[in-house]
């Protein structure tokens, strides 16, 4: 009894974990990336882009419902056998490592740009890595609670960003449909990449105590993320216009320059200080998911050694995050990470469903 409650989260907390895995530093760059493809119609792209995470949540939930008592690794080993299953899990872990190293790197770049211009990137990254290990070592319940409280902080912060909407020029999003179907679709795909994080559900499904509520929680989470992205993209579009947006590296942060606050000279600093917890959050959640999979794969005691698995994961993220030469190569890699999301978030559950269908309920291991 005690064991069960100490390692499960509520479906309400799952909402925050999914949101926390989705929203990272990427939200600041999203308006530029989407409007680059879809122009004035970027907001339509955001709405359409949400289809993919919805689909991903739906597929993973169905998968979990098919095999409710099995964790992600058990499923892989059971459906595909030891060898193929292990490869699938290792691929998942590798994806998390690559993806989260990008998240962490972008976040560190922002911190370096605004807060610590003279501090080496390696030091900033080290601190983020330490937070990943520290938070993850406290276990899934603490992780969920932290996601919960950081979500409320985050929403408050995003409200600050939306303040300049008062000075907006609504003609900036007109005419509707200018980009054409093709542009909107390309923009939607770009947005879909920003929704990466729903795949955390693959691992977290078995950790939720009321599994019948997972679908609802997942959909609510994606809805909230969509709304926040939409608010961000529309505000940026209205305030800056498409053309200006292309020249701004982090349009979301630029919004803070628009509004004037009496005592503090530059708002983005204060904003970033509070954002710090949120920037590392996707890496914390996904890193935890990866370490859990790793310790399950190696068949070691999760409770005892998960922290060591996490240390290994965090170290790998740290090293990988140091590899890209500059921010430009990071942005280029984001596109590949997006494909990774499609494979893990959509391809994996589809593949599993297929295998489960073929096996007809019989497990290999």
């Amino acid at each position: 009894m005690k064991d069960k409650t100490s390692s499960t989260i509520t479906s309400k907390q799952l909402i925050f974990v999914i949101i926390g895995s989705q929203i990272g530093a990427g939200i600041f760059a999203l308006p530029r990336m989407v409007s680059g493809k879809a122009g004035e119609d970027a907001w339509i792209s955001v709405v359409l882009g949400a289809i993919i995470p919805f689909l991903s949540v739906f597929l993973i939930e169905r998968l979990g419902r098919r095999m409710p008592q099995m964790g992600f690794t058990q499923m892989a080993l059971g459906l595909f056998g030891k060898n193929v299953g292990s490869v699938l899990i290792i691929l998942f872990i590798a994806y998390v490592l690559l993806f989260e190293s990008l998240v962490v790197r972008s976040f560190a770049e922002i911190a370096n740009l605004y807060l610590l211009p003279k501090t080496p990137l390696a030091v900033v990254l080290l601190f983020i890595t330490i937070s990943i290990v520290y938070i993850g070592s406290k276990g899934v319940r603490v992780l969920a609670r932290l996601n919960e409280i950081l979500f409320y902080f985050g929403v408050l912060l995003l409200f600050i960003l939306i303040i300049p909407v008062g000075q907006a020029d609504y003609t900036n999003i007109l005419p509707v449909g200018e980009a054409g179907l093709k542009g909107i679709a390309r923009g939607a795909l770009t947005t879909a990449y920003s929704f990466a994080g729903t795949e955390v559900l693959l691992v977290f499904y078995s950790l939720v105590n009321k599994q019948e509520e997972v679908l609802k929680a997942g959909l609510i989470a994606v809805c909230i993320t969509t709304l926040l992205y939409l608010a961000m993209v529309i505000t940026c579009l209205l305030v800056f216009g498409v053309n200006n947006l292309q020249r701004i590296l982090w349009p979301g942060l630029m919004l803070l320059k628009v509004s004037q606050v009496p005592v503090l000279e530059r708002l983005e600093f204060i904003f970033l200080v509070f954002w710090m917890g949120m920037g590392a959050r996707p890496a914390v959640n996904m890193g935890f998911a990866a370490s859990l999979s790793l310790s399950q794969l190696l068949k070691i005691d999760e409770k005892k050694y998960n922290t060591y698995a996490l240390m290994f994961i965090a170290l790998a993220i740290y090293i990988l995050a140091l590899l890209p030469h500059n921010l430009l190569s990071v942005f280029k890699l984001w596109d590949y990470a997006g494909y990774g999301f499609l494979i893990i978030g959509l391809g994996y559950p589809l593949l599993y469903h297929l295998a489960a269908f073929m096996r007809g309920g019989k497990m290999l291991v």
Partner: protein, 522 residues
């Protein structure tokens, strides 16, 4: 959650090790033999008084009273026990009908002796004497009577010096556990209020009372508290702080996980919310678990004053805590790393004030912080009059001198003083202590990494707070995990008549607090 490994509960055998060397022999009939047996254990102790007397009869029956001086009420012993016994009890009666008559007689003739027990063996006889219980031994009766007439001098019920109040009760706990329990009983006449007593400490054998309301408190939490107290294996406790450190979930945390107070009117509402109160003998501070973080920022006056004012003051306390923890750190970070964040004019006045100071900002701030901490420590133990002198000397003379000697800028003195004032605006002394400590790592982080360090510190402390538990209850609730129904009594304090449910953050099996709803009240 990490709980430090607890040893298996000590067996009854191990707990009684201190009296184990006393043989468990049955007491003999003859008084002289009894005294002979008892003699080695009490003869070295000047304060144990043996008082021989005779009961009526032919020949007169010899009896002895054994007690510790000043621990029992000597007047009751003389007037209500010894005198009636000497006058009304016959030797013949006693020897024919045995000790039953004797107990009967004492009950009937003495109004104050309420608890009488019989003792038949030596080891419990010795222990009973040292527990402060009066012993009566009679020649020709093998049973020995133990009469609980505790007395002696103790402090009067007084205003609690560390927790003054404007509107609440002026009564504070004293050092006697029974008086403290009575103070709570008087305020809470519920028959469901359970008072359980256990003894803690092999040698001190201190009475520890566990109080809870049976039909509100969560039985799992009550059991957990009892288990942890019973697992305490220590030779002596002299204060409730010992118990606190043994029962808290994370002893290495900076944050207090057990609420302590010396005011009964603070603890009664906690009992009503389903918490468990622990009162330790010889300590005027009672403990309440499970404790929540927000609880340390709430004062009982919040409920005595009117809602609007209470909410305002409560919000101010949250501001005070944040300022107390982060103001010096922010000052260091801003001035040494991100001066561009400050408005131009403010920055100029800051740097003008610092122009003659030869140290970096962090050194300057650290010096002042350490001096202030030492001043607080120095003033704490001195008599009040001298304590004030220390305060004045440090406040006016030291501060001025430091500025004139160019050791510190006026700004840094202002910053540190504000943060100290904010620290002491917090209502709970245990949170004051942790706030004083947290300030230091935050300053260090700010000095090394500026605002980034500050936010790193914040996320680590937030994680730590969120991960803490008190008796298995999430410490940072109702904030995380968020319990919206409890938020009406967290940052603000809503109207009394709207708080119909008990807080859900504290598990209880009786959620309804009061019947009237807001609608009916219109």
């Amino acid at each position: 959650m990490k709980i430090r490994p607890r040893k298996t509960p000590p067996t009854a055998d191990a707990r009684d090790r201190s009296i184990k060397n006393i043989p468990d022999t049955k007491l003999p009939v003859a008084l002289s033999e009894k005294m002979q047996l008892l003699k080695p254990y009490i003869e070295k102790n000047y304060d144990i008084i043996t008082h021989s007397f005779y009961l009526e009869g032919n020949p007169r029956l010899e009896a002895v009273a054994v007690y510790i001086n000043q621990v029992i009420d000597i007047e009751i012993l003389n007037l209500h026990i010894l005198k009636p016994l000497m006058l009304n009890c016959d030797r013949e009666d006693l020897l024919t009908s045995g000790s039953h008559t004797l107990i009967e007689t004492i009950y009937k003739t003495s109004i104050t002796a309420s608890r009488i027990a019989k003792i038949a063996n030596l080891s419990s006889l010795v222990q009973t004497i040292f527990d402060g219980i009066t012993i009566l031994m009679f020649d020709g009766l093998d049973d020995v009577l133990a009469i609980d007439i505790h007395g002696g001098k103790s402090r009067n019920i007084d205003v609690p010096p560390a927790e003054q109040t404007m509107r609440g009760s002026r009564e504070g706990f004293i050092e006697r556990v029974d008086v403290n329990i009575a103070l709570i009983r008087r305020r809470l006449r519920d028959p469901n209020l359970v008072v359980e007593k256990t003894l803690v400490g092999r040698r001190t054998r201190t009475e520890v009372a566990i109080l809870y309301i049976d039909d509100i408190a969560d039985p799992q939490i009550v059991q957990k508290v009892k288990d942890r107290i019973n697992q305490m294996d220590i030779d002596g406790i002299v204060a409730s702080g010992y118990v606190e450190q043994f029962i808290e979930d994370d002893p290495s945390s900076l944050f207090p996980q057990v609420y302590s107070s010396e005011r009964p009117d603070k603890l009664v509402p906690y009992l009503l919310e389903g918490r468990v109160v622990i009162i330790v003998d010889n300590t005027p501070l009672a403990l309440a678990v499970p404790a929540l973080f927000v609880q340390f920022l709430q004062a009982p006056e919040d409920y005595y004053e009117r809602t609007l004012f209470s909410s305002y003051i409560r919000l101010m306390r949250y501001v005070a805590w944040i300022v107390a923890v982060s103001l010096p750190a922010s000052y260091i970070a801003l001035l040494s790393y991100q001066p561009e964040l400050l408005p131009y004019d403010l920055l100029i006045s800051f740097s003008k004030a610092r122009v003659a100071v030869p140290f970096p900002v962090v050194v300057e701030a650290l010096i002042m912080e350490i001096i202030i901490q030492l001043v607080i420590e120095a003033g704490l133990r001195l008599p009040q009059q001298i304590g004030q002198t220390v305060g004045v000397v440090s406040g006016i003379i030291l501060g001025q001198a430091a500025i004139t000697a160019k050791l510190a800028s006026p700004i840094v003195i202002l910053i540190i003083s504000v943060s100290v004032i904010c620290t002491y605006a917090l209502p709970a002394s245990s949170l004051v202590l942790s706030t004083r400590i947290i300030r230091l790592p935050m300053m260090m982080l700010a000095a090394s990494f500026g605002l980034f360090g500050l936010s790193f510190g914040a996320i680590i402390f937030l994680t730590h707070l969120v991960s803490l538990e008190s008796m298995g209850v999430p410490y940072f609730s109702p904030l995380a995990p968020t319990r919206f129904s409890d938020l009406k009594d967290t940052f603000i304090r809503t109207f009394m008549w709207k708080m119909n449910k008990r807080p859900v953050s504290i598990p209880s099996h009786n959620p309804q607090r009061q019947g009237n709803t807001g609608e009916e009240n219109d």
